[in-house]
């Protein structure tokens, strides 16, 4: 019985010791303790004030339906068409 308080005391000390390890203190998302992506200067954020621009009538960005031939004559593939299968949970992107 005498050992129980000693072990509990040790446990408390252990928790405090682990939490106070300066080299192991958790960093924020991206690391380095900053908010967001640390060391990521001028990256994700784009300069303000730019216009998105005009897309002409022939400007295409969408995926082909399949069968559309590229310049080499090969039919370009389309995006995945099948239904979500299996019993697993969805997460991430299916495309």
């Amino acid at each position: 019985m005498k050992r129980i308080p000693r072990i509990l005391t040790g446990a408390a000390v252990g928790v405090l010791a682990l939490m106070s390890l300066p080299g192991c203190v958790a960093e924020g998302y991206g690391g380095g303790g900053d908010v967001g992506y640390v060391g990521y200067v001028g990256g994700v954020y784009e300069p303000g004030g730019y216009e998105y621009g005009r897309w002409g009538s022939g400007y295409r960005v969408g995926p082909p339906r399949g069968g559309v031939r590229g310049s080499g004559g090969r039919p370009a593939p389309s995006i995945p068409r099948g239904p979500r299968g299996g019993s697993g949970h969805r997460s991430g992107n299916g495309h």
Partner: protein
């Protein structure tokens, strides 16, 4: 009281006599036992102390074990206003949100209770007018190798490889034109290929100044099979459109920026599947967003539009239906 005093005196005597009872034989097991007990009793604290505080969900639950290099597998919105973004995207797509352990500045967006995107709160640098953006994550097998290949082919590493438990290893890169994207080696594998449901990401495009050079970059980095679709003109000069594919699926488009692109930065643009692009654009405006490109018929026969959320981050909405009777515009 007396008992406690006796114990303290006893403890004091033991500390003043380090040789007594033999530290190795008595104290070490006690300390080890205490540490083990602490680890069991306070896993969150120990977990945090080991430097793994941010717990992002795995891309696939259970693990898929599949790998689809080059597939767009995730997107994070980097914005100074996560709360505003929640209201906007929640209203537009029906996303709901929850936090993640260990990070107050990150929120998960969910569709039908499953993660669909992330949102990172990042304040704009003081004195600078900057625009928030969505960060596109591409699947790789080896992040370190991807960093190396990117640099070898003229890209940059903007944020070095970092490991997140359950999620995997990721790094933020820029291509040779400066378009920013991330690579992710997912711990449990990549999501299987399936047709995205409304409210999920369905397509991505990278708009660059030099598409030919960029196809070489992405081909080297991710092993894409590249298809050069016929140039149809951008209205202000020819606009090139390449399809980047892997596993015999189109993974992303690669477009030249429209001719007056001197003022625009190359960037990745992600599209969420919607049932009605025009209605989504209207709703986005009602929620405080803007329409950057009006709804228009595109190559796949459905409509798409480019919108901006209230903080200015651009994203697309795109219709897709296998029963679509619309013809591809000529």
């Amino acid at each position: 009281m007396l008992n406690i005093r006796t114990q303290l005196m006893d403890l004091s005597r033991r500390r003043s006599l380090p040789g007594r009872n033999g530290f190795a034989s008595t104290r070490v097991p006690q300390v080890l036992c205490a540490l083990l007990l602490a680890y069991a009793a306070a896993p969150a604290a120990v977990h945090a102390a080991m430097g793994a505080a941010v717990v992002l969900p795995a891309l696939t639950q259970p693990a898929s074990g599949e790998h689809h290099v080059g597939k767009v597998v995730w997107a994070d919105l980097v914005t100074p206003d996560v709360d505003g973004a929640k209201r906007f995207y929640g209203g537009l797509f029906g996303w709901t949100f929850r936090g993640v352990p260990g990070e107050q500045n990150y929120a998960l967006a969910l569709l039908d209770g499953e993660p669909v995107a992330g949102m990172v709160r990042k304040a704009s640098p003081t004195g600078q007018s900057m625009q928030p953006a969505w960060l596109t994550f591409l699947a790789v097998r080896d992040v370190a190798a991807a960093q190396q290949v990117a640099v070898q082919h003229g890209g940059k590493v903007l944020s070095q490889e970092h490991y997140y438990p359950h999620r995997g290893r990721q790094a933020v890169l820029a291509d040779t034109d400066g378009a920013v994207f991330a690579v992710l080696a997912a711990e449990g594998g990549d999501p299987p290929d399936y047709l995205a449901s409304p409210g999920e990401w369905i397509w991505s495009s990278v708009l660059v100044k030099d598409p030919k050079q960029e196809t070489d970059f992405y081909k080297s980095l991710l092993g894409y099979d590249v298809y050069d679709l016929a140039s149809e003109g951008g209205g202000e000069g020819d606009a090139q459109h390449f399809i980047l594919s892997s596993d015999n699926y189109a993974r992303a488009g690669l477009n030249s920026l429209p001719a007056d692109s001197m003022r625009r930065r190359p960037h990745w643009l992600n599209f969420v599947r919607v049932t009605d692009a025009a209605a989504s654009a209207k709703k986005a405006v009602a929620l405080g967003g803007r329409v950057l490109v009006e709804p228009r018929l595109d190559r796949h026969g459905g409509s798409l539009a480019v919108l901006a959320d209230p903080s200015g981050a651009p994203f697309g909405v795109m219709e897709w239906s296998d029963t679509d009777t619309k013809q591809e515009p000529q």
